[in-house]
């Protein structure tokens, strides 16, 4: 077994040295290796397919066949294409002209939304903003308590007028949270919502209702980096059901290769904006496309 794609490609190019040109069979072998590496990294199948076709095209070109080390050249191309897709039009958070700026979080169950609310709150506070966290997950047992605890750790106040555990209306809480922020002049409102499945029409409607009640400036789709092929279906369901403006990839401190980043970017066109990299509130950073590309390729 070869450790990574680079080694595998180098090996598949071994016989080639001195031949000067890549044969059709060489190219097939190369594309097959890349396809496998991307699938092993959980990049979505439709994205892999497009990607492999592009690589095939470029592998036939002079830039590769005339290169001194064609394997390295192909990897360079693959890497560059990945960075381009992952990093296209990276941007900062959009702030409202008239505060408060509203940031709504949405995603599957257990993705890392509540933790992210506190991380984002802390990060914004350090930049001089005055954020408020809003506890609109009234469903999952003790989600409100959890937000209160992490809010406290982050030094960010929490709007939690309802106890949760099935009691209270999440849409009303979101609305009153934004009103409270306006009254007390908080500059940013971060709305934590319950986890929901793409196929849960009722819960998706609730998310849309929270959106309509708060007119968010950003809706961040929170996605676990360990997710597999379901990333596309789920991302499409959230894009359609609530719409999102950016993506946050969580649990990047693990050893998952995180191909979902590429899938979601490739399928929805929305930028990955932040990375969550641990359970501590400081484990949070801007997303780096180049690091992600190397990670997906396992290099």
């Amino acid at each position: 077994m070869f450790a990574n794609l680079s080694d595998r490609l180098t090996a598949s190019f071994k016989q080639l040295r001195g031949k000067g040109r890549l044969s059709e069979a060489d190219i097939d072998a190369t594309v097959a290796e890349i396809r496998r590496a991307l699938l092993d990294a959980d990049v979505a199948l439709p994205v892999v397919r497009t990607f492999a076709a592009n690589v095939r095209e470029r592998a036939k070109s002079a830039e590769v066949s005339q290169a001194l080390r064609p394997a390295q050249q192909v990897i360079k191309i693959v890497n560059a294409e990945l960075v381009e897709i992952l990093g296209g039009e990276a941007r900062d958070l959009r702030f409202a002209k008239h505060p408060p700026t509203v940031i709504m979080l949405a995603g599957l169950q257990g993705a890392g939304k509540t933790t992210l609310a506190a991380k984002l709150g802390r990060w914004l506070r350090e930049q001089g903003h005055t954020p408020l966290l809003v506890a609109s997950d009234l469903q999952r047992p003790n989600a409100v308590t959890q937000l209160q605890v992490v809010g406290e750790q982050a030094g960010v106040p929490v709007w939690a007028p309802e106890p949760g555990n099935g009691v209270g209306d999440p849409v009303a809480v979101a609305r009153s949270g934004v009103q409270h922020a306006r009254d007390k002049q908080y500059s940013v409102v971060i709305v934590d919502t319950a986890g929901r499945l793409g196929v849960d029409a009722e819960m998706m409607q609730q998310a849309a209702d929270i959106r309509d009640a708060t007119s968010p400036d950003e809706i961040l789709f929170v996605l676990d980096a360990m997710i597999g092929q379901d990333a596309v279906t789920t991302a499409n369901a959230f894009a359609e059901g609530v719409g999102f403006t950016g993506v946050v990839l969580t649990k990047l401190d693990g050893d998952a290769r995180g191909g979902a980043a590429l899938s979601v970017r490739g399928v929805t066109g929305k930028p990955v904006m932040f990375a969550s990299t641990g359970e501590k509130l400081t484990d949070f950073e801007r997303f780096h496309a180049d690091r992600m590309a190397s990670r997906i390729l396992d290099m």
């Binding site: 257990g110 693990g254 050893d255 290769r257």
Partner: protein, 284 residues
Amino acid sequence: LSRGELTESDWEEIEETLLLADVGVGPTTELMDKLRTETKVLGTTDPEHVRDVLRRELLQLVDPTMDRELHLEPVVGDDGEPHPVTMLVVGVNGTGKTTTVGKLARVLVAEGHDVVLGAADTFRAAAADQLSTWGSRVGVPVVRSDREGADPAAVAFDAVKEGRRTGADVVLVDTAGRLQNKAGLMDELGKIKRVMAREAPVREVLLVLDATTGQNGMRQAQVFAEAVDVTGIVLTKLDGTAKGGIVVAVQRELGVPVKFVGLGEGPDDLAPFVAEEFVDALLS
């Protein structure tokens, strides 16, 4: 699949079904090779028939004959006293451990068992509160620390001790989510298990895998199995669009069966794993 002869694109469609279900490139390629050989031997080109063969092959891989029961037979310790059956629930962050403990307690109570829960996640914000809510939902006591950041092994130990004291027959211990690449946290898990075992042997270690997990699921299973000897898998969130195909490779590699599936967030949303149902859902 269309009627008549199988075209190359029919084959691709079959392969796609497997890959999209997170079965993984390795097992998918093996299955495809087998399928091509077998259909050649059978001389069949009927898509319907090919699909039957695939279903059979996949079912064989998932193995309906595996023992998927929880081991709940009463144990008697060296001292001649009965011990509660103790179970540890482990996994990476956010997969559904705490929820599974709650649901499993519900099942066990319905079967007439006396259950005690142990809140050995002393790290995650409000984790013990969450488990306590589940405890009152399903009517079982929860042993917890009143201190955040308490030693999880000590809480687990106390839970088992409490189970013995009250004559409970099952003690279920919830643990904090941890990523398998964090050696320190994996050592901590090993310690929790060892300390529990001083009171009573740990009978079941259930690894909770999220059905949306891709190829990293294999790594999770390998490392957790190494650290605490996993005896069963719970595949959660199967009520979504994900198929959970990674467990096919996990079961084969580790020989550890999936015992339950999670089908929702409510107390009754836990079901035994049925190989036929899993395979049919995967191929649908």
